[in-house]
Every structure is written in structure tokens, then in C-alpha cells.
Symmetry: C2
Subunit: 226 residues, 2 copies
């Protein structure tokens, strides 16, 4: 990504350290899925077969661990937006975008909690990516509306409303895939132009920035001994 200023990526780690790092991430996904995102760090360490110190050295904060553990999922979300924009049928693209993100929330235990967790925008570069993602999404919405498929009174924040409410549902019912699919189907139907009957209440002012729709590339690494 042309970001050569980052110091000491995981490539420069010693072989055993790199192995442990992968173990930790794998363990974190399992533990976070099982006990929630607030599970004790020591549990993750034990599961990974490493000491707590090793865990803390690699991921100084819980946030860093969570980000790194679900980085792949976050990237999938970001990629889904790019793919949606590339779809010649904008409604198809929109629909696939919603379905992809929701499927990820549904299938990847622990990811929903990470999805709603507030991560500070660490880098200016990342903030830029988020703004770009927001613009991309607005373009997608405008196209789908112009095509007469997405209802005219759909507001970009409705996307956040859909994802956050779905997130809440799968958090409450982690095993109920039918419920999740059902909600997604209802929401997508209600977003279609022909579903518009009467006026909706005013849209939310919620910015989309908080959603993980931009690849962030942060891996929880940090130079040793600042």
C-alpha cells in the first residue's frame, strides 16, 4: 500500500515470534467468539500456549488484538464495497454488499462485537481511506436510486442502521442463522423502490465513518521500546 514508514511489520520477527503471533491471533478469534470480546487476555494467552507477556508484547492493548484478530474480516467488508461499486447492476451490488457484511457478522463469531467496537482512527491515511469508502458508498446509493431499484428516500445512514441492528441481532442470537437471514431479507425488501409506501421518519445523522468499510492494515505491531 505504499506505506513504508511503518516500522517492523510482522515480517521482521524471529521465526518463533512469528509463529506465536499467529497462534495468538488464532486463539483470540476462538476465545473472543466463545466468551465475547472482553474475555481476559490471560485466557487468550493460555489458549495460544504462550505467556501473557508475549501477548502483551505483540498486542499492547485489547483493541490492537481485536483489530488484528478480525483484520481479515474487516478487509472483506472493505473489499465488498469495492466489488459492489464494480457491479454493473447497482442494486445487485448494493444487495450483495449488505448480504456479504451481514453474512460475515452471522458466520464469524466474535466479529459482530469487533464490528461495533470503536477503534480510534490511528493514521491520517486511514481516515482518508474511510472518507473514500464513504464517498464510494454514496456513489453506489445514487446509482441504485437512479436505476429505480433503491427507494428514493433511502439515506446512506440507513445502511448503518441495517448493519448495526443486524449486528445486535446476531449478538443476541449467535446461533440463529435463520433469524439473521430473515432480517436481512426484510430489510433488503424494504429498501427496494417498490416497497416505498408513505413517508419515513427523518433519517439518522449517523456518519458511516464508524463502520469498518475501509481496509486498515493495522496489525497491532509496534516498534519495541519506544
Amino acid at each position: 500500500m505504499g506505506e513504508s514508514s511503518r516500522i517492523a511489520g510482522q515480517d521482521s520477527l524471529r521465526a518463533d515470534a512469528r509463529r506465536n503471533r499467529r497462534r495468538i491471533l488464532s486463539a483470540a478469534r476462538v476465545v473472543f467468539a466463545e466468551h465475547g470480546i472482553d474475555a481476559p487476555m490471560a485466557t487468550v494467552a493460555r489458549r495460544a500456549g504462550v505467556g501473557v507477556a508475549t501477548l502483551y508484547r505483540r498486542f499492547p492493548t485489547r483493541d490492537a488484538l481485536v483489530r488484528a484478530a478480525f483484520a481479515h474480516q474487516m478487509d472483506t467488508c472493505a473489499r465488498a464495497l469495492t466489488e459492489a461499486l464494480a457491479d454493473p447492476d447497482p442494486w445487485q451490488g448494493f444487495q450483495r454488499l449488505v448480504e456479504t457484511v451481514c453474512e460475515l457478522q452471522r458466520e464469524e463469531r466474535g466479529f459482530p462485537a469487533a464490528f461495533v467496537a470503536a477503534f480510534p482512527d490511528s493514521t491520517r491515511e486511514h481516515a482518508r481511506l474511510r472518507e473514500q469508502a464513504e464517498r464510494d458508498f454514496m456513489t453506489l446509493v445514487r446509482r441504485a436510486q437512479a436505476a429505480g431499484a433503491l427507494r428514493a428516500d433511502f439515506h446512506p445512514s440507513d445502511f448503518a442502521v441495517a448493519l448495526l441492528s443486524h449486528c445486535g441481532l446476531v449478538t443476541a442470537l449467535p446461533d440463529d442463522r435463520a433469524a439473521s437471514r430473515r432480517l436481512v431479507a426484510y430489510l433488503l425488501q424494504s429498501f427496494r423502490a417498490e416497497a416505498a409506501h408513505g413517508a419515513l421518519p427523518a433519517p439518522s445523522a449517523l456518519p458511516l465513518r464508524s463502520l469498518p468499510l475501509a481496509a486498515d492494515g493495522s496489525q497491532g505491531q509496534r516498534p519495541s521500546r519506544a
Copy 2:
């Protein structure tokens, strides 16, 4: 309610104890709203101006406190169902029911967390009430469908899906009333018969029993020294 077997309701408390009990409940609502349902018990006690021992004597577990603190809201939910059933227009009743419960979730901070919290069905009487509530709701659904207002493929579990997803939304965005109203509007539109376009995925098998739609009357009281 013809339930004379319960021992020592709050009426038999000494005057100071009754006063403290009210203070605790009031403090609990404030603290739970502010810091979530997992706020330290000591915080509630301090806010109420009582010692922790007093709090624990009245409400031996956190669940008991939560139940009692939001008993009024739970009852409002239960009453909403009764009123919905009494409405001559079943769709109107259904719509009002959804809106009432969601408004409660939206406006009463801390209630959403209590809404999804799992409380054991302590009494057989209460289990009976829940089953009755479930039957009532199914009657409402059937009537609204027969009237041609509610879509034929609406499944009772979709009600739980709606409430739980809305609950998740207001938990994620406690201050964003517009988002909450927007979701409710979308969901209600998609439940209308004329919104049905194409088949929905299979409904969830989730029982409605877990939702607080039956008045439970439990007040967190218990006879001292079993």
C-alpha cells in the same frame, strides 16, 4: 392476582426499609442507564445513599435488581400486547405493539439491556402467563393476516427478530432516536402484505417466550433467612 402465597411483599417492610427500597430502584435505573446493566452494585448503593448490605438484603442478585428496576417497563410491554389484542383493527394493534415496545427500548435507557437479559422463569405461574402471552400474540398475527394487512408469510418469530435487532440498534446508538424510528418504520413497512415480493428465507425457530411480554410481578423480594 390471587397470588397470596408470596411471602413478605414490600408492603410489610418497615417504613425506612420501604423508603430505601424505592431509593435503590430509582438509583438502579439511573446507574444502569448510565453505565450499563453491569455497573457495580456498590455504585447503585452509593447513588441511593445506602450501604451495600442494604442493597444485597433487598435484592440478593443483580438479576433481581434489574428485574425490579425495570418491572414497570416490562409490564408496559405486557400491557401493550393486551391493548393490541383489544384493538378492533388488528394491523393497527400490531403496529402499535411494535411501536410501543420499541419506543420503550429507545427512551428508557438501560431497559434494552434488561430486555435481552435472560431471566429464569422463577414461578410456574409466570411460565403460564408467558404461554398465554404467546398465544395472544399468535391470535393477533392471525387476525392481522386474515384482514389482509400483515403479510401471509410473516412468522411470529419475526416479531422477536424485529425487537431484538431494534434492541441491538438502540444499544449501539443510545442517543440516536432517528435511527431507531427509521428502523421501526422500515420493519413495519416490510411486514405489510403489499410489501411481499418474492419468498423470504425460512423463519427462525426462536420461541417468543424469552421476550418480556408477560407481567411477572416479581419484585426481587425474598423472605429473610431461608
